[in-house]
Point group: C2
Chain length 230, copies 2
């Protein structure tokens, strides 16, 4: 039985872990949602210390892992959702860490100065950072994923892996946060991958369950119309 | 024979890889320095594609790996600079990825808005972001590393690993960029670790060679006095 430690109320980075757990049909306790954010904070200072700097954290009996891309790699390789060969495993890990960088940049569009203050206190810089993100970074990152799919076909590393679920989630998040910018991207293969993932039976079940929270403006992917203004 | 693809002229993220290669006495070609940045750019679009999004990239015959923390983990596990057990390996990977996050945040102090424009075009936001970094983020990250050392002793995961070299490099970089803020941190064990790494024979040889470039204001860790002003 896995325990996922993540804040309740948002998809956040925890969602990348949830998708892998759901696709591989692993039972898990979503600690923040079931026991409250206080339980997550307390565990971070106690039983999850000292290696976990921030959620999400996964615990499997005496194994504690933090860092989203590391957790999903470990789960994927353990439960048949990763290539078997080393080159494939390194490719999936490289892609997933690059997606994690994209997620961090998406976060910083609404928090370009500090995580200690609300978005409303850093709106000016946010507007500038969001413009650069829309104009330069989104195109560069999605083109990177599209190119990989052009080479490898229906899945990022040839066989279905946790990297595909990460791509699904980041596309969904960016569609929510920056719908106009995303509509401009020419990414037919990445769009097809996103749809293919959403149609996997366990993922469909999950996405239509109430375990899948809607995106909102306390999460990582936030829709602020002013951050899409020219 | 390894090939490291990274921009010439700076330590940058490539330095984390170099330190592991030097400590494990692996011969390597530093492509940017030996063949120029054009060779790196060309390889990124060609032979290193499609998985490498950005340097550093390591090539070992037909294996291509990007993402600093992934490269150093792979090298560390391959060359005896990592724990042997799974829990230790996951701990070293978690710590190193957390250090990579710290490095990204250090970078964003001088580029809070966009990597497409020079620091001088984003100095106002940089000053704000640097203040938050000095006051909140540096203390949180170095306390995290100090706590691990308090638990585990002379090395982050009990035995010497690539994570210790990453800690050395990030402390050195932050000492260069934010000397006043770093002088305020109470981190005796992390300081001792930094010194212990610098005194390892191969690291000493490297640090005093001309392969070790000085920090400078085109790298990741930059010293701008105005970013340390109150």
């Amino acid at each position: 039985m896995y325990e996922l430690f993540y804040w309740s109320g948002i998809q956040g980075r925890g969602e990348f872990v949830r998708l892998v757990l759901e696709e591989t049909a692993q039972p898990y306790v979503d600690v923040g949602r079931e026991k409250g954010d206080e339980a997550v904070a307390k565990a971070l200072d106690g039983e999850l210390a000292p290696y976990a700097f921030a959620p999400p954290v996964l615990r499997a009996s005496d194994v504690v892992i933090a860092q989203t891309a590391l957790i999903t790699r470990w789960l994927g390789e353990r439960h048949g959702l990763a290539p078997h060969d080393e080159r494939g495993r390194l490719a999936a890990a490289t892609i997933t860490m690059t997606i994690a960088d994209l997620v961090a940049e998406a976060h910083d569009t609404h928090h370009p100065i500090t995580v200690e203050e609300a978005y409303e206190k850093q709106k000016g810089s946010a507007r500038e950072r969001a413009r650069a993100f829309r104009e330069n970074r989104i195109p560069k990152f999605v083109a990177y994923l599209e190119r990989i799919l052009e080479q490898n076909g229906n899945y990022l590393v040839g066989t279905m892996s946790y990297a595909d679920l990460a791509a699904f989630q980041v596309v969904d998040g960016l569609d929510y946060a920056f719908p106009k910018a995303m509509a401009k991207q020419k990414i037919p293969k990445l769009r097809a991958l996103r749809d293919r993932m959403s149609q996997r039976p366990r993922i469909t079940t999950y996405l239509t369950s109430d375990r899948r929270l809607p995106f909102n403006e306390t999460g990582i992917f936030r829709h602020y119309p002013e951050l899409e203004a020219a």
